[in-house]
Symmetry: C2
Subunit: 197 residues, 2 copies
């Protein structure tokens, strides 16, 4: 029994690893050139979500943590995994409270990303959150988070010059700048954020 | 024998899967809260690279392909993996010729990204290529690529509205727009690319 994925003919597949977060599947694949090879896909059980929490004064809230896979400290947007019983928006509302102790009146989806599409199927939903107010929330007890509120222009500069490297955060901060240049933000935020440095 | 990664104490690690592209390692980890758990990391054997090939007339060259892990067609920048004997720049110069039949006189690194840092250690280097000229090159025989040259503004709109979802491509196109707004591109390209739509 073969199946097709676009130009790929799949002759068989077997799961070679499995845990609550990822599944590895080896596919026996051939293509029109005649080449036959193994294509291993890392399947993600949870989608990812991230948010730009943008305050009325043109500041944003970032979170800092040591990222275990990189063994490096990383400043990022609030981000998290979408649980099976949540929508991406609900997950992000929960994570924004847990990680940054914030709630937001106005949520806009600003990007949809596939993070590493040659090996994984991981999908990320990215939001802009406006109308921020304090909320109570506790991070997961496996996380040790720092929280920092800084001018948007500073966060944007960090994304551009490599001080922020997390792909969701870099894309999202640049996207909000793009929205400001195109005057897609409410009121005075466009002028606050679009000014060249 | 324990070791540390920031706040994580690592009590042991074992490789649970291995192929020429990725290695899976299960780590036995504890944190200050007392929680002890397994942290599985997908280690990438090759770094990734991508390039924005920007022509003098304000057009860019994109490549299209069916991405097997997503089972979906994807328009993207020319991208590829960095072989062990290459620098990221050399890899990208090779991929630009292979995938888009282009060479470039002027290369600038514009982003460094970690694509999915809660599970993987994958790192990507992103370039802007200017001074483009035709070059000969053949794609890998496992790839079936389409090539399309279009106005930068159109590619940027595709990244913003979700027609392009590849994280490297979305971040890089937004970064080049950001550079144009800040007048960091050569000559007339700033005005060509920074115009609001």
């Amino acid at each position: 029994m073969t199946s097709r994925r676009g130009p790929f003919v799949v002759h068989g597949a077997r799961t070679v690893y499995d845990n609550p977060w990822i599944t590895l599947t080896d596919h026996d694949v051939s293509v029109a050139s005649g080449r036959r090879f193994s294509y291993t896909v890392v399947g993600f059980r949870r989608r990812a979500a991230g948010v730009v929490p943008l305050h009325e004064d043109g500041t944003v809230t970032l979170v800092g943590q040591h990222r275990f896979p990189l063994d490096a400290y990383s400043w990022e947007l609030p981000e998290g995994g979408v649980e099976p019983d949540e929508t991406p928006l609900q997950a992000m509302q929960r994570e924004l409270a847990e990680e940054a102790s914030l709630a937001a009146a106005d949520w806009r989806q600003i990007l949809r990303l596939h993070l590493s599409n040659s090996v994984t199927d991981e999908e990320a939903f990215v939001y802009l959150a406006l109308g921020l107010t304090p909320a109570s929330g506790e991070p997961d007890d496996t996380e040790e988070l720092a929280v920092r509120r800084l001018p948007f222009a500073e966060a944007l500069a960090m994304a551009a010059d490599g001080r922020i490297t997390d792909s969701i955060s870099v894309a999202a901060l640049l996207r909000v700048h793009h929205m400001a240049v195109n005057r897609e933000l409410p009121g005075g935020l466009n002028d606050l954020l679009a000014a060249p440095r």
